[in-house]
Symmetry: C3
Subunit: 257 residues, 3 copies
C-alpha cells in the first residue's frame, strides 16, 4: 500500500491511517510517497502520483488523499488497472496516473461495511480510504466496495501547442531542489525535428537542452529530460525556481534547430 | 510499535531508535505517529497520543518520547492497559491517553539489563525506550522491567466550565491546516441542552456549530466535531489559527439555543 | 536497508526508491535515517551516517545518497565491512563511517544488469543505489556488482590540535534542538589530563564540561559528551546554535585543569 496525502508529517493523521491499515491487514507493508502536497493542491498530488506509481510492484494499492471537498458530496472511488489498484476521492487526483494505465474497472466506494465506524465528516483518509485500501491489499474483490462506474473526474492536462520546430507547454511542479518540471514528456519532445534545442521563457532564450545537469557550468540553467520522464529546467548547483523566477503555470517553449 | 517524539525528521535520531528496535525485535513493525511535536512540548505530545492511540491493533506498544528532563531524576515507565502497552518518561506525556484506557499495571523502568549499553545521559529514546519497547513487542513480561508503581504523573486537562446553556474550554492543539482543536469532546458538548449552538471567542460570536467544514461559505469560520472527537474551529478552505488569531490556550465558549 | 539522502520528504523521490527496493526484495525492511541532509552537503551526510550506522543489526545495507555530482563521472561503490554493507556515490559521503569499520572489500558499481532500465542521468538513487541495495539485501554477492577497488574517496576530518591540557577542534553538525556537535570524540577527550574542563570559543570561556544538560541552570550553556559519542555544546532548555552564534566550522577549544 502506498500513501500520498496533503496531511503533512507534523500531526498524527498519517500515523492513524497506518494504524487502521495495520489493524485490518497486519502483513501489508506501507510506503509513504509523500505527505507534503500543498494543502488542497489536487494537481500537485496528481502529478506526484503520476511520477511515482509505476516504480512499485504489481498489485500495489496506491492511495491518494488530497481532498479539499471531504464531507461534501464528492464521490470516492477505487480503480483496478492492469497492474495496480488506485483509491481516493473522485476529484481528479487519480486522473493523470490513471490516464497512463490500462483500466479494468471503476467502483464507487459506497459499501459502508468496509468503512470505519463511526464515520467522521472530516477525515475520510482514516475512515474510508485507509480501511478500503487495507481490504483490497488483503484481496477483497473490488466489486464488493460499491457499484460500477463508467468514468472518473479528469483534471485537464495543461495544453501543449506544437509547430514543426517548436513545442509549448508549462511548468507543472517545482521540486525540493528548485528544479521546475514541465508537462512536456519524452514522447512529445522526440516527435519534433531537430538535433539541437533550446528552452525559451517569456520569449527569451534561457538555456540549451542537454543530457544532464553538469552539461553546463555552475550556476547556469539547463533543460534536461528528468527522472520522471518530463522536461525539467534546473540550475547546475542552484535553485532554478528562485533564480529564474519560474513557478507552476509559467509558460515554456522548446525550439529545435 | 508506534513512535511519537519531538526529535524531528532532520537528524538521525528516529532512525537509530528504529535500528535498536530492529536489532532486538526484527519482525516487529514500526509506525511513526509524528516526530514533529514542538521541542519539549509535553502537552502537544500528550494530545497527539490521545488522538491517535486507539486506531491501532490490540497489543500495540505505544512509545512517546517528549522528554525535556532527560538525564535528570524524572522516572521512566511502562504501562499495561486492557488493549495496549505505553512506554515513555513519567512526565505526563502518557497521561491523557492513559486516562481514557483501562489500566492493568504500571512499572518503573529500572532493569538496566534491558537498556542499551553504554547508557547515554542525553538520548534515552535510543538507549531506554526503544529497547524496552522492542522487548515488550516480543512478549517480555512487563514486570521484568522494574518494580510496580501506584500511579503516574498526570498533566492537568484544561478546565471546562459549564452552565445550563454554555460550555467553556480552551484550544489545546493547532494542526497543519490551521484548524484549532479545543478540549471539549463529544460527550461534554452533548450534555448541554439546545439544538443550535454558536462558538464565541473574546466575548464575541464567531461562528455556528455545524456538521462539516463546507457547511459554511468559503473563507467563513465554522465549529465542527473533528475527527479526533473534539470540537475544532476551522475556516472553510482557509487557516483558522492565522485568520482568527487563535492559538493554544485561547479561550472558547459554546452557547446553545 | 537504511536510506540516508538529501532528497527531502516533500517530493516522491524517497517513495520511489522504496518502490524499487520492494519490487526486487519484497521482504526486506526499509528504515529512513534521514532525508533532510541539506542539498548537496556531503559532510553533513557523512556525519549523520557515522553517528547512526552502528545501531543497526549485522547485515544491514546502509544506502547514503548525497550526490551533487550525479550524472558526471564520479564513481559509485559498494563496500563490505565486518558488520555491514555500504552503498553510495564515491564522493566521500560513506568515508567517515567506513573509517570506523573493518573493511573487507570495495567494489565499483558497474554491472548494469543490476540497475534499473532505462537508467536516468539525474536520479541514481532510484536507478542504481536502490536496486543494488535491494539485490545485496537479498544476498547477492558483492563481487557481482563490479570490479574490486583499492580505496574510496575520503573526506578530510576537521583537524584536531592538542597540547597537554588543551584540545582544539570544530563544530561539525547542528541538530534540530540547536545543539552543536564537535569533531572531538570520547577517546580524544579522555586522552587529556585534568579532572575539570571548560569549553572556550573565540578565546573566551563559554561553559563547563558536565555529565548532562541539566547540570547547569536554565538557559545556561554546557558541554556534554553527546549521544553520538562526540562533545556537543547545548543550552539547557534553549538553542545553543542561535543563542551562542555557533555553526558548522566554528572553532572550539577544551581546556583541562
Amino acid at each position: 500500500v502506498t500513501l500520498l496525502t496533503d496531511f503533512g508529517t507534523v500531526d498524527w493523521f498519517v500515523g492513524v491511517m497506518k494504524g487502521v491499515i495495520a489493524t485490518i491487514a497486519p502483513t501489508s507493508s506501507i510506503v509513504d510517497l509523500t505527505h507534503q502536497i500543498p494543502p488542497g493542491d489536487i494537481r500537485a498530488g496528481a502529478f506526484a502520483l503520476t511520477a511515482s506509481c509505476r516504480f512499485f510492484p504489481r498489485g500495489t494499492v496506491h492511495v491518494a488523499v488530497v481532498d479539499p471537498g471531504v464531507g461534501s458530496d464528492r464521490k470516492a472511488i477505487a480503480v483496478q488497472t492492469a497492474d495496480y489498484l488506485f483509491v481516493g476521492p473522485d476529484n481528479g487526483v487519480l486522473s493523470w496516473a490513471l490516464q497512463r494505465e490500462s483500466i479494468r474497472s471503476i467502483h464507487a466506494l459506497e459499501n459502508k461495511a468496509r468503512f470505519l465506524k463511526p464515520l467522521s465528516r472530516t477525515f475520510h483518509g482514516r475512515d474510508i480510504f485507509a480501511p478500503v485500501a487495507a481490504h483490497l491489499s488483503r484481496g477483497l474483490a473490488i466489486e464488493k466496495l460499491g457499484p460500477d462506474r463508467n468514468d472518473f473526474v479528469r483534471l485537464e492536462w495543461p495544453q501543449i501547442r506544437r509547430t514543426e520546430r517548436t513545442v509549448r507547454g508549462e511548468i507543472i511542479y517545482v521540486d525540493r531542489f528548485g528544479n521546475v518540471i514541465t508537462n512536456l514528456d519524452a514522447a512529445t519532445l522526440s516527435a519534433s525535428k531537430g538535433t539541437r534545442a533550446h528552452v525559451f521563457t517569456r520569449g527569451k532564450r534561457l538555456c540549451p537542452l542537454a543530457p544532464f545537469y553538469q552539461s553546463v557550468g555552475r550556476d547556469k540553467p539547463v533543460g534536461v529530460l528528468g527522472s520522471s520522464g518530463f522536461l525539467e529546467i534546473a540550475v547546475n548547483d542552484g535553485n532554478a525556481s528562485k533564480q529564474l523566477k519560474l513557478g507552476v503555470g509559467s509558460k515554456v517553449e522548446v525550439r529545435f534547430q
